[in-house]
């Protein structure tokens, strides 16, 4: 008699690969094989996971239409099923999958829309913590400011697109209304963060993306400013800092030498 391990192995393989046929010994009430009954499980798995992707990537679905989305998602489900029962994590590889999906090649911005939606999802479920307040930063003595380092908020995500992806995303979520978009108009750097309840997305100014990346990697304010200026000479330090703090990008700042967080200094 077939053991449990072999039985579940055969069942699992046939679930995602219809070419394998229905494993023997799976029967209806008369003891005879019943492919239609096995198909219920196949359908539950594929349709269920497709619906999960649809819920996690609503703008991608709105752009390509439900039929196209289902066909695309089903291929991903069969080739890359979730690796965890926590389905809010499912779809981390969807943007890269779309980028390599030939029938979607006419929508070159689509992978970046998926990246925005993925970033939104991660920010939505990230750990809660209060962001750094502007007043706390203002209280730091001027002589310390150039060497300050910042810790970013756990919900912070950055997305860089060579297309106006933020504009396209906004047109395709909620009450958004699709309109003409000039794909050659330049790209979007997008800051995604959830300092309190709501996920917020904003377009970043010139050099802002490199600046936040540098801070996140542990560069001091002065070092990060140089990095940003190298990337784009239009970079404006005080405007960026003001906007980033207002957006809730950071949780605290500190000096390298000093173990105590500057924001706690009174």
């Amino acid at each position: 008699m077939q053991g449990l391990a072999d039985r579940l192995q055969g069942f699992a393989a046939a679930l995602l690969d219809p070419s394998l046929g229905v494993p023997p010994g799976l029967v209806g009430p008369d003891g005879e094989p019943s492919p239609k009954r096995f198909a219920v499980y196949r359908n539950n798995v594929v349709v269920g996971l497709t619906e999960v992707l649809k819920a996690n990537f609503p703008a991608v679905c709105r752009i390509v239409g439900e039929e196209f989305f289902d066909a695309m998602a089903r291929i991903l489900v069969a080739s890359e099923p979730p690796t965890s029962p926590i389905l809010l994590e499912y779809g981390a590889g969807f943007a890269d999958f779309i980028a390599g999906f030939e029938p979607a090649a006419s929508l070159p911005y689509l992978p970046d829309i998926a990246r925005i939606e993925r970033a939104w999802m991660e920010a939505y479920h990230a750990r809660d913590t209060p962001p750094l307040e502007a007043a706390a930063l203002a209280a730091i003595p001027d002589r310390h400011v150039p060497s300050l380092k910042f810790s970013v908020h756990p919900s912070l995500r950055l997305v860089r697109s060579p297309f106006p992806a933020l504009t396209i995303w906004r047109m395709n979520v909620g009450d958004g209304v699709p309109g003409p978009v000039d794909l050659a108009a330049g790209g979007d750097d997008i800051l995604v963060v959830r300092p309190a309840a709501e996920v917020e997305l904003r377009a970043m100014p010139p050099g802002g993306y490199e600046f936040v990346m540098a801070l996140e990697q542990g560069q001091s304010l002065t070092e990060a400013m140089k990095t940003a200026l190298t990337a784009d000479p239009r970079f404006d330090l005080s405007g960026n800092i003001r906007d980033l703090v207002a957006a809730g990008t950071f949780v605290d700042c500190h000096l390298d030498q000093e173990p105590e967080r500057m924001t706690r200094m009174k």
């Binding site: 008699m1 449990l4 699992a12 029967v27 492919p35 219920v40 798995v45 809660d128 756990p154």
Partner: protein
């Protein structure tokens, strides 16, 4: 000195013998704004395994006002492999945080190798499966430090190698592990139709003294290749009249029990969902009164 938690865990509140509903994000606001008279809420554990954000904020506030039960869908108790220890740990942390009155899982498997299928897949009822399931439930109860309830499955096919009936299999699990049971009456109707069992007999032979919760839901009707009715457990519509009838029979045998309306797809308005819970409660109380008067006069 013992470390102090910033957030104090709430006290565990028992689930009352009333009707409750599955908590859906679509209804968070209405529930908090109207504070409805409802027995309890139940959530799928895996939906609250994110680190933070609105789901936890809402659940904490709802948990402050209502009894809460926790229903796992991803532990894969029926699998031939070891339980996922990381998942069990997350479950343990969630239970510590929300202190649900009941915790339940399924007689099913849903993971294989690294893949998670997001469906409750069936197991063959053999001695080998039995010993796997028993050792998994032992591990769950030991790790969580509490009893779990096991739910009877909706099944669409049978395994030629099965040597136990479903009821004997479940009864033996209860005997060996001391777990409690969740009787899903819709699953009884779905499985009984698909397997050509007698649903009344199924309920009568089920280990009823161990049942601590009942589930009710809607199903979809299809047919197999031989034209036999094939019911699918879809949770996307009201509870069927036949299932209400089976529920009445169950309550007559069992007395009032925590009863959950599951509605997980094509989510209805709050009013429609609440009406289903009210119907369950009306049946529960009507039968309870009849039983009382019979005890008094009969």
């Amino acid at each position: 000195m013992a470390p102090q938690n910033d957030e104090q865990s709430p006290r565990r509140i028992a689930i009352p013998p009333r009707a409750g509903v599955g908590l859906k994000p679509e209804h968070y606001r209405t529930i908090l704004d109207t504070n409805p008279d409802i027995g309890f809420f139940e959530v799928h554990a895996e939906n609250y395994m994110g680190a933070g954000g609105l789901p936890h904020r809402y659940l904490s506030r709802i948990r402050d006002n209502f009894p809460l039960s926790l229903h796992g869908v991803g532990l894969s108790i029926g699998a031939d492999r070891s339980l996922d220890r990381d998942h069990l740990k997350r479950l343990s942390e969630l239970i510590e945080r929300y202190q649900p009155g009941l915790f339940s899982e399924h007689l099913a498997w849903s993971t294989h190798d690294t893949a998670y299928f997001d469906d409750l897949l069936p197991v063959p009822y053999t001695a080998e499966t039995l010993s796997r399931v028993v050792s998994h439930i032992d591990e769950v109860q030991e790790t969580l430090g509490r009893q779990m309830l096991l739910e009877n499955p909706s099944t669409y096919l049978a395994f030629a190698e099965s040597t136990y009936s479903e009821i004997d299999f479940i009864a033996e699990i209860v005997r060996r592990t001391g777990c409690g049971l969740l009787l899903d009456v819709n699953n009884v109707h779905v499985a009984a139709t698909n397997q050509q069992w007698d649903p009344i007999r199924y309920i009568d032979e089920y280990p009823l003294p161990h049942v601590q919760e009942i589930h009710l839901a809607g199903y979809t009707r299809e047919a197999d290749e031989k034209g036999r009715t094939l019911l699918i457990d879809t949770h996307d519509r009201p509870v069927d009249e036949i299932v209400w009838g089976l529920y009445g029979h169950t309550i007559t045998r069992l007395g009032p029990q925590p009863t959950l309306i599951e509605w997980d797809a094509k989510i209805p308005t709050w009013t429609e969902l609440k009406a289903e819970a009210e119907r369950a409660e009306a049946i529960m109380f009507a039968i309870g009164r009849k039983e009382q008067s019979r005890a008094r006069f009969g």
